[in-house]
Point group: C2
Chain length 245, copies 2
């Protein structure tokens, strides 16, 4: 087992059987960190044990979180597995390219993960706007909905193909790390409070879309810790300026 | 949906739920031809419907066969999905290379398939000796046993990546087709009858291994229809010769 890992995050999974099948699929390809956000039937759940087929360690170490941001807070890079072309400005990667990128990022000591939506309706825009990019698994357009564990096993398989291979591209960040999702979440909260206060987000109906679009701009920017600190400084500085005038 | 197809053959599958999950995984990547050899709980089976998640056409068209040879008789190329390194002289391909090869073969108008063993013990040597080569999915050596539908979804996914792409290698067969598995099966039967008669296979205990080894030689040879006819002519000719002396 390699030290580098890919975290799998399931958002509001419905069936404990699927959680078990996901655990098995992960361990088949050397992944061990599984996290849940609001599993419908609670956690732990006995129904996950049989389909895990012996991947008990994964089940025992599962963490459940109340929010997506809490579940991904410590990660530096998170992609969202989604078949739908959401109405957002986002990078969309093939599984091959996405996992190559995430494996390369992990090899540089960064923590990476992939978000999966639930069995009924996939990922919501709010969760996707917390992610850097989308992974689109190229399925039959007439029958595109994958079983949750099948989507995870394809992801884990592509990860395993790339994790021990020399990267074809590297993103150099110098002496600073990539920002964690928590850093970024705090920056968004900070920025949005100020934009509410200044009236930029005053249009109630358009507000959710505007917030998502702003977040997506910064998601695509591949920000480092240092850059997030700079951005927060910029916001603080602008706010002081406007308060003085 | 492309005209070229990859046939999936499940040998003695135990759970109808898995058959349904396999049907869903196949249709997700445009595959439609699923065949069963001696399904434990019979076929059709209502328990397959829910996990198929709407892939009803696949379920309705499933054919069940009493023997592996009957199930693959009309196919020109069959690979076996197997994690075990069997004690046979066989080509072993990665999923990527195997499905590229099978997709290329299908693009030349040949019928291709992959054999999967059952949930408990995978493929037996007898079935593997009916196949040209092995596909080894590179799993965690400490937890290598894949769920049956997970193995199929990885295979179908790799197929879909290659089927509409220009091949990197082509095996030219001139004006003749690749041999079908039935042609090859008849040749083996013919040869083995003669080898029994002449005493070459007289050692009862060693006979199964010897038969497998002989079959594997011809499996690796990528035989055309014409070449199988020639080989049968050679056997007939040798037998006549020995009967005359």
């Amino acid at each position: 087992m390699t030290q580098t890992n890919l975290t799998i995050i399931l958002i509001e999974p419905q069936l404990a059987q699927n959680i078990g099948a996901v655990a098995r699929a992960m361990l088949n390809f050397g992944l061990t960190d599984l996290r849940l956000v609001n599993p419908r039937d609670g956690w732990p759940n006995q129904d996950a044990i049989a389909p895990a087929a012996g991947a008990d360690k994964i089940l025992e170490n599962i963490q459940a979180f109340p929010t997506t941001l809490a579940a991904i807070g410590d990660l530096n890079r998170v992609f969202a597995a989604s078949a739908r072309t959401h109405d957002m400005v986002k990078y969309i990667y093939s599984p091959h390219a996405a996992l190559e990128y995430l494996a390369t990022t992990a090899q540089q000591g960064q923590k990476v993960g992939v978000l999966f939506g639930n069995e009924r309706c996939g990922l919501q825009n709010e969760d996707i706007s917390l992610c850097e990019a989308l992974i689109k698994i190229p399925t039959n357009p007439e029958f595109s909905s994958l079983n949750l564990a099948h989507a995870v096993v394809l992801t884990a398989y592509e990860w395993s193909l790339h994790i021990n291979v020399s990267p074809s591209q590297i993103f150099r960040t110098g002496t600073t790390n990539l920002a964690t999702r928590e850093d970024l979440g705090k920056f968004f909260a900070h920025l949005e409070i100020e934009l509410d206060r200044t009236g930029f987000l005053r249009h109630k109906k358009k507000r959710p879309t505007m917030v998502r679009n702003i977040r997506n701009i910064f998601q695509r920017a591949n920000l480092t810790e240092q850059e997030v600190r700079s951005l927060r400084g910029i916001v603080r500085s602008l706010v002081r300026e406007s308060q003085n005038t």
